[in-house]
């Protein structure tokens, strides 16, 4: 197979097979079996069956370095090796399916609750195990060959195909939001979406595929020029920047009108997490302090807002007044909450200032848990209601216009998000932001250069806490009632995932991260069950494959890459995989640049 060693093919193929078995046992394939994307034939479950052999083949066909020479497989060899990889993957999976069928699924089900006859039926395409496994093998060959081609074919062609496929799948996933929006705009969505199959029609799917693919080709043909022109205009004309900002804001403002109440509800949650992400981004992204107890500020903001605006405690017999309560206007209370949260940031920050990064993470995790335990405890029940929580939080009404209703809440949240984005953006460019940069890159050097690390660390905790409490206060307004169950440690980890996915220190990244991680699962109820599983996978995958995130902050990316250059051991594995590490290490020019562009 030319430049592709057989061992590598077998290993990747087997890995793909295990991934498939994992996806089935954890319940993903069964859950998504009937989630139609295009027509009734392309379901998310089938896409999941397709992806592992495709991905394994894509990995196998990568260019590699042998004895100092970069060998890239041609399309023929790539497709061949890919097909073999795909067959290995589906053979392993097919064997597992056949075994499950022979051993009796009901018995397997006693251990793995997701293994059911329905899943077996689905993965064998409802044709019985013998025929089904043959189909699986065929699928493996096709998916593998495509995966190999995707890596070795001409960039222009593969790029266009990938863009088309991605768009079609994405629009299929957005089946509950796009048709609604189209209807609101007065366009009949029937030509694109079918109400019967609850998915894209075949015409719509193919159309989108062609459209996106074509756009990709055009973009690559004339893209370079256009991009440069746009960039130049942006740099020279402040009016252009303002114009874009205005358009962006206008879109954001009409969004809930277009999307209706259900989706606005989701958008509201996205906004709350954008706020949390922005706050955490100050602490983790700017100052480089890993705070896992961020939920503490969220909870503090929510409960404080409830107490300051006259919420009552839930009790078994009805409601009771809390031991401490005030009846302030929301727009006055919010500033008290923010200031108090900043103070709490100082209090939390002060004792843990001198701890090294990973200790800091665990200690803050502990502090976050303490807040939840206290909120649940009988000790503080007279103040915050214990497990039953509180209700009757203000709806922040201006006159008669309350903000509890999803579409209205969106505007309230948007206002605070814009404020927080502005503050973050100005902070990052300010003297404070530069001090944080210096501190994050090297604390000792920053100290020696006269940056008071104590002061700036405390400032980061205070600012981060303030923004986080905003998120909490808004959350309290959004749902109107609070229970400790909303303030699990998972909130901290979700906020962290939002920041990490987009890229540490990157503001567009936070927004994108929240849209993907909060928005998508909110729109597709099927995802809800697997939300945390996916968050975990995202955290690991991003850290292993692309530590700078999806929309990286330029400086931060440079930083991560400088560190790479210094830490050759990591790079070597990063770039070549452990087995070729020795060969690369012997290269005169070092391992950098050989395959970086493919992976990062």
């Amino acid at each position: 197979m030319g430049p592709v060693p057989l061992r590598s093919v077998l290993r990747a193929g087997a890995a793909g097979g295990f991934v498939l078995i994992f996806l089935s046992l954890v319940g993903l394939i069964g859950r998504f079996a009937d989630l139609n994307l295009v027509g009734e034939q392309v379901t998310l479950g089938r896409v999941l069956l397709f992806l592992p052999p495709f991905g394994a083949a894509f990995l196998v066909a990568r260019p590699r370095v042998v004895a100092g020479e970069r060998l890239a497989a041609g399309p023929g060899a790539g497709a061949g090796a890919g097909a073999v990889t795909g067959v290995v993957t589906s053979a392993l999976f097919g064997a597992a399916v056949a075994f499950a069928d022979w051993f009796d699924v009901a018995r397997i089900r006693q251990v793995f609750v997701a293994a059911s006859p329905a899943v077996i039926e689905f993965v064998t395409f409802e044709r019985g195990v013998a025929v089904g496994v043959l189909i699986l093998l065929g699928l493996g060959v096709v998916a593998g060959a495509l995966g190999g081609l995707a890596r070795t074919g001409q960039r222009r062609v593969t790029g266009a195909l990938a863009a088309g496929a991605f768009t079609a799948i994405l629009m299929g996933l957005l089946q509950r939001i796009v048709p609604v929006a189209m209807q609101e705009l007065g366009i009949d969505p029937d030509f694109l979406y079918s109400g019967r199959t609850r998915s894209l029609t075949w015409g719509g799917g193919v159309g989108l595929f062609v459209l996106a693919g074509g756009a990709n080709v055009l973009w690559h043909r004339s893209g370079q020029e256009t991009r440069e022109k746009v960039r130049a205009t942006m740099a020279q004309e402040p009016a252009a920047r303002t114009g874009i900002l205005v358009v962006l804001l206008a879109v954001l403002v009409i969004l809930p009108v277009l999307l209706g109440s259900v989706i606005s509800q989701v958008l509201g949650s996205v906004m709350v997490f954008v706020l949390l992400g922005l706050g955490l981004n100050i602490v983790v992204g700017y100052a480089g302090l890993l705070d896992l107890g961020y939920v503490a500020f969220y909870a503090f903001g929510a409960y404080m807002m409830a107490l300051l605006t006259g919420a009552t405690l839930n009790t078994t017999t009805g409601s009771a007044a809390p031991a401490f309560s005030m009846d302030l206007n929301f727009y006055f209370a919010i500033w008290i909450v923010v200031v108090l949260a900043a103070g709490m940031g100082l209090l939390i920050g002060a004792p843990v200032l001198r701890l090294r990064g990973d200790y800091l993470a665990i200690v803050t995790l502990g502090l976050g848990e303490i807040v939840r335990v206290l909120a649940e405890s009988r000790w503080l029940q007279p103040v915050v209601g214990g497990p039953q929580g509180m209700r009757g939080v203000t709806n922040a009404a201006i006159g008669d216009y309350g903000f509890r209703q999803p579409q209205h809440f969106y505007y309230l949240a948007l206002a605070f998000v814009v404020l927080a984005v502005f503050v973050s953006w100005r902070l990052s460019a300010s003297r404070i932001g530069r001090a944080w940069n210096a501190m994050r890159e090297d604390e000792q050097v920053a100290n020696a250069m006269g940056v008071s690390t104590t002061k700036y660390k405390l400032l980061a905790f205070a600012m981060g806490g303030a923004v986080g409490s905003l998120g909490g206060a808004l959350f309290a307004v959004q749902i109107g009632s609070l229970t400790p169950a909303s303030f699990q440690i998972l909130v901290s980890i979700t906020a962290l995932a939002v920041v990490i996915l987009g890229g540490l220190g990157s503001l567009p990244g936070v927004v994108a991260g929240a849209l993907v991680l909060i928005g998508l699962p909110g729109l597709l109820r099927e995802f809800e069950e697997f939300r945390l599983l996916i968050y975990g996978a995202v955290l690991v995958a991003i850290m292993v494959l692309r530590p700078q995130g999806l929309l990286p902050n330029v400086r931060r990316m440079r930083e991560l890459h400088e560190e790479e250059a210094a830490q050759d051991e990591w790079v070597r594995r990063f770039a070549e995989g452990a087995d070729e590490a020795a060969a690369v290490g012997a290269l005169p020019g070092g391992p950098l640049g050989v395959e970086q562009e493919d992976l990062t």
Binding site: L25, V26, G27, L28, V111, F112, V113, A114, G288, L290, P351, V352, R354, L355, R356, G357, D358, Y359, A361, I362, V363, G366, L367, E369, I370, V373, L374, E376, S377, R378, W379, Q381, E443, I489, L490, I493, L496, A497, I500, E529, F530, L532, L533, Y535, G536, A537, V538, L539, V540, M543, V544, P547, L560, E563, Q567, E569, W570, R573, F574, A578
Partner: protein, 364 residues
């Protein structure tokens, strides 16, 4: 320059030289000591019938020691990995959970078939074996897939990965085995109490303590006496030099994770049999507590992990009732998790090196 000004400058200088941090620490320490002392005094001098009888305190101590020995077993996993990789394997609690869950299916099948009562020792050995095997597989996979590609990466990168891995494993268990809590069978001879020198000890607690003790002794012997143990110590000392000396560092790291898995598997069975239940979330609290124990004892040190585990177990079982009851806090045991974390925070503030360690947690 007038003398007045000079004096003022000198005073300012003295003010700046004042060790603020130390002063704050001393004040904080005195406050905490007073709070604890007064609380304990008030609890112990509560009138008859309101406080706890001597017997209750005895039970607390036994419970604390047994719970602490489970913490110690898990803490050893943290400490071993930290000693060699200088990373906090945040997902170690999940390794423990998988061990407990893996053995659950065997324990319950044996109970249904009656094998657990007929051959309790054999059955227990198989259950332990299964738990150990499951935990070892999870630990080694974790190292191979999530941590190995990140070796030498900036410090926060593996930590964030570990948090992600923990979440992933937890929800994998949820997907695999379902979200409900399941009852875990234990053989009849572990029910009830043993009367030893006039005190009735719950049998399961005694067994837990003994098994943990034997495990720690065996581990110490392994590390001190075998060649593999020696190479582990060498890698912990300096992995680069160790690899120059012909030690396969990758192999040592895998072995370290595997040993952590063995201990976590044992701990999983002990924990599940003590509380007679398993669920996918059971790894979180013990995991954090065990990490606290490792830090409390001095992370990186085996004796420290064992000592820290027992100390934390005792603190947890005695602390809330001893201190908080005196202040009339209702249901002090609800606050136990908060108490654990408070201990962790205080240790890191006052003695970052732990009981057996020295100096501060290094700053990098």
């Amino acid at each position: 320059m007038g003398t007045d000004q000079q004096v003022r400058v000198a005073q300012l200088g003295r003010l700046e030289r004042l060790p603020w941090r130390r002063i704050i620490l001393v004040i904080l320490g005195v406050t905490i000591a007073t709070t604890v002392g007064v609380g304990a005094y008030r609890t112990l001098t509560l009138p008859e019938g309101q406080g706890y009888a001597a017997r209750a305190w005895g039970d607390f101590i036994v419970l604390g020691l047994a719970q602490g020995s489970i913490y110690a077993l898990i803490a050893l996993g943290y400490t071993l990995v930290y000693g060699i990789l200088r990373m906090i394997n945040f997902a170690h609690g999940e390794v423990f959970m998988f061990g407990a869950f893996g053995s659950y299916f065997f324990a319950n099948a044996y109970e249904e078939s009656g094998f657990l009562e007929r051959q309790p020792i054999v059955a227990l050995a198989i259950i332990l074996g299964v738990a150990i095997a499951t935990s070892v597989v999870v630990a080694v996979l974790l190292e191979r897939i999530a941590y190995r590609p990140l070796r030498g990466a900036p410090r926060l990168v593996p930590l964030i990965t570990a948090i992600g891995a923990s979440l992933f494993l937890q929800n994998t268990a949820r997907g695999f085995f379902g979200a409900q809590t399941r009852g875990y069978a234990k053989p009849g001879f572990l029910e009830g109490r043993w009367e030893i020198i006039g005190v009735a000890f719950p049998r399961i607690r005694v067994v837990v303590f003994l098994v943990a003790l034997v495990s720690v002794v065996l581990l110490t012997l392994f590390i001190e006496k075998t060649t593999t143990g020696k190479s582990m110590r060498a890698v912990a000392e300096d992995s680069e030099i160790a690899s120059l000396m012909g030690i396969n560092v990758d192999r040592v790291i895998v072995i370290t994770f595997a040993i952590g898995g063995v201990l976590a598997g044992i701990a999983g069975v002990l924990f599940a049999m003590t509380f007679e239940a398993v669920n996918f979330f059971m790894g979180f609290q013990p995991g954090i507590a065990a990490f606290t124990a490792a830090v409390l004892g001095g992370i990186g040190s085996i004796a420290g992990a064992a000592l820290g585990g027992l100390t934390l177990g005792l603190l947890e079982s005695l602390g809330p009732s001893l201190i908080l009851t005196g202040y009339q806090v209702p249901s002090p045991f609800q606050l136990k998790p908060a108490f654990t974390f408070l201990v962790l925070v205080l240790v890191l503030i006052f003695r970052p090196g732990g009981i057996l360690g020295t100096g501060e947690a290094e700053k990098v």
